[in-house]
Symmetry: C2
Subunit: 425 residues, 2 copies
Amino acid sequence: MASPAKSFVEVGSGNHFPLENLPYGVFRPSEGGDPRPGVAIGDLVLDLSVIAAAGLFNGPLLSSSTCFSQASLNAFMALGRPAWKEARATLQKLLSVDEPTLRDNAPLRAKAFFPMSEVKMEVPAVIGDYTDFFSSKEHATNTGTIFRGPENALPANWLQIPIAYHGRASSVVISGTDIHRPRGQTTPPTGEKTPGFKPSGLLDFELEMAIFIGPGNELGSPVTVENAADHIFGFVLMNDWSARDIQKWEGVPLGPFLGKNFGTTISPWIVTLEALEPFICEAPVQDPAPLPYLTETKRTSYDIPLQVAIQPEGETKASVVCRSNFKYLYWTVSQQLAHHTINGCNLRSGDLLASGTISGPEPGSLGSFLEQSWAGTKFISLEHGGTRKFIQDGDDVIMSASCQGEGFTVGFGECRGKVLPCKPY
Amino acid sequence: MASPAKSFVEVGSGNHFPLENLPYGVFRPSEGGDPRPGVAIGDLVLDLSVIAAAGLFNGPLLSSSTCFSQASLNAFMALGRPAWKEARATLQKLLSVDEPTLRDNAPLRAKAFFPMSEVKMEVPAVIGDYTDFFSSKEHATNTGTIFRGPENALPANWLQIPIAYHGRASSVVISGTDIHRPRGQTTPPTGEKTPGFKPSGLLDFELEMAIFIGPGNELGSPVTVENAADHIFGFVLMNDWSARDIQKWEGVPLGPFLGKNFGTTISPWIVTLEALEPFICEAPVQDPAPLPYLTETKRTSYDIPLQVAIQPEGETKASVVCRSNFKYLYWTVSQQLAHHTINGCNLRSGDLLASGTISGPEPGSLGSFLEQSWAGTKFISLEHGGTRKFIQDGDDVIMSASCQGEGFTVGFGECRGKVLPCKPY
Ligand SMILES: [Ca+2]
Ligand SMILES: [Ca+2]
Ligand SMILES: [Mg+2]
Ligand SMILES: [Mg+2]
Ligand code: NI
């Protein structure tokens, strides 16, 4: 591999956003102003609306596009991989240490760069539909064992179908948004008929990753597993907050609803497939072989180490409670996409498809407190003191991910959210 | 009640769209042009963008609003009931036989009116999220009996929770859109491990009604059952197409997905609560009493007779296969809305909340073929010849609804869709 690319913007060692990454997001400057697309470089955000207005996206596909003067990335997502590659090449050149155009234009630099610590990140796309998969075999086995016992752990369909359900798009929020503990109905106490009604006592996180859809497909026309990657713009981290007591009582027969739809947090920077290329790895062997429409000639995934930490109210240190990896997932994103559309279902640019909780086979790799506490039957010790079975008020739940390249890091930043007490009602 | 209001637009006896109705939709003129809001009157559509441009929405809430120059009704929906009442009063006056403003302005009339038969109707709102409830006790009991046996017919939570799941917004289509039979996995044949994979053999309709949300609520702030009606813009008919074989194999443990999300058809005209006021009736008594957050001081519903007919390919007559009524629903829309938000989930203007299949206690009132054929164990005879257990290719499924007032009809028009063969893949 070539030696790390160098930008005139300083990028410290271990920084998540070197020239090799260039993830996309949508931000507002601290002094106000409309949301606009940006790209992360080191500790700065480059305002793509300024770069576009300066005529610096001068390739054939983007020179007359208005996609960077929008308040969301949907238009850019819809353009597809050739335009994404052109944008990446333009930005890598513009930001390179050897390229004077932006480097030596102080007035433009002053308009185009913002300190990352001072901008307000926004949900980067208008999410038409959000789908949550259930693609970790370890997670499905663990939750199946907890809820139905070891003999029926894996649902009958699980090895054939990348199972999924539709989640709520309206309550997808950006990292840093506080989450109020939800209130709701819970299973009636033994011998009683009236359900409980209270703030959830079993609030949990789910460590997930999610893709944003690039070009969509027409209603009635499936995307094949081999073409699926062309429809994937990039990845973010996701916390699928889950109220286990509400989820359990409501969930049969139509699946998760109020136990999930009170909030779903995503990280703000969308890391592209191009940036993740150095981290391609083999996907798990599938046995039994899936049906032909789910069969990939080459099964690949990404080696993305993931971490979850909890920082209780008033503590200065976060305690790591989970180390997992995207590569553990049994069903790949291409299989998810092929399955999602096999009945003709149409995806649209900006749609969000989440992986499901990413648990692994290693000790310490369980992606939810439900699994770690085995449904609340045992305590989890926090490294910096205290114990948990589920999330307490004041806990900041911090997910992060980074891939170590040769001399550079491709990271996702953080996906965090603090749990506040249930609001009076 | 006063004698029927009269418009200078001719409205034939039994026409669904007299001056008492004035439902809202979004249409394109046949000669092309952008989608714009309209209102139905008799056999005509009144272009609200033309009326607004002419300055005829001159009340205090709408005179400076741009809501009628949008391609969707979301902005108008967001304004809330006072603005809706103002628009209704303005339109009832403008269209009245005694009011010369529009009646005697031939050039304006020529620009503002379109024959309904010549316009192309569109989905009337950008639907951020679509939720499908399960609020008919008869439907829940029937499907529960079919799938789990009579002893476990009604799920344990059903009498306490207006059960719902999130559906797919992208595939909500307008009446008249053809639906391709979906393809997908089905339960492995007895003794085998490999699932089936084929065009659905058990394609069904579900007779439903759905509300569009007016003003939304903030994430974290529930809507009370008493305030719920302020958030409801109006009603449409809905066919929740369902592939029973796909649904059955995929549905445990996370609920319906590909068995439903290949298409959901709605009728184009949104009938307001104001138009439905004459048809308010009592809602069913609930036993056990629901929890306080679902308790209404006065339980009302709407008496809306509903009908489903099937017109097979090449036939000239449609055979009625179901006569039901909205009033049969056990959970009211206000209860649905209060439940949907009790955990803090945010609704947005333009969201679609469907009732679930509306089956009733009367013979002939079962709102799906699944129930009518009792899971395919018996044939349904069509009045004009032929039998069905499920929908066949070429069948046009036609839902309609109208309420008979004293000397006028408030109708919904039709919600129809023809099933085409599964597309080659
Ligand atoms: Ca999840
Ligand atoms: Ca339904
Ligand atoms: Mg969630
Ligand atoms: Mg449907
Ligand atoms: Ni035909």
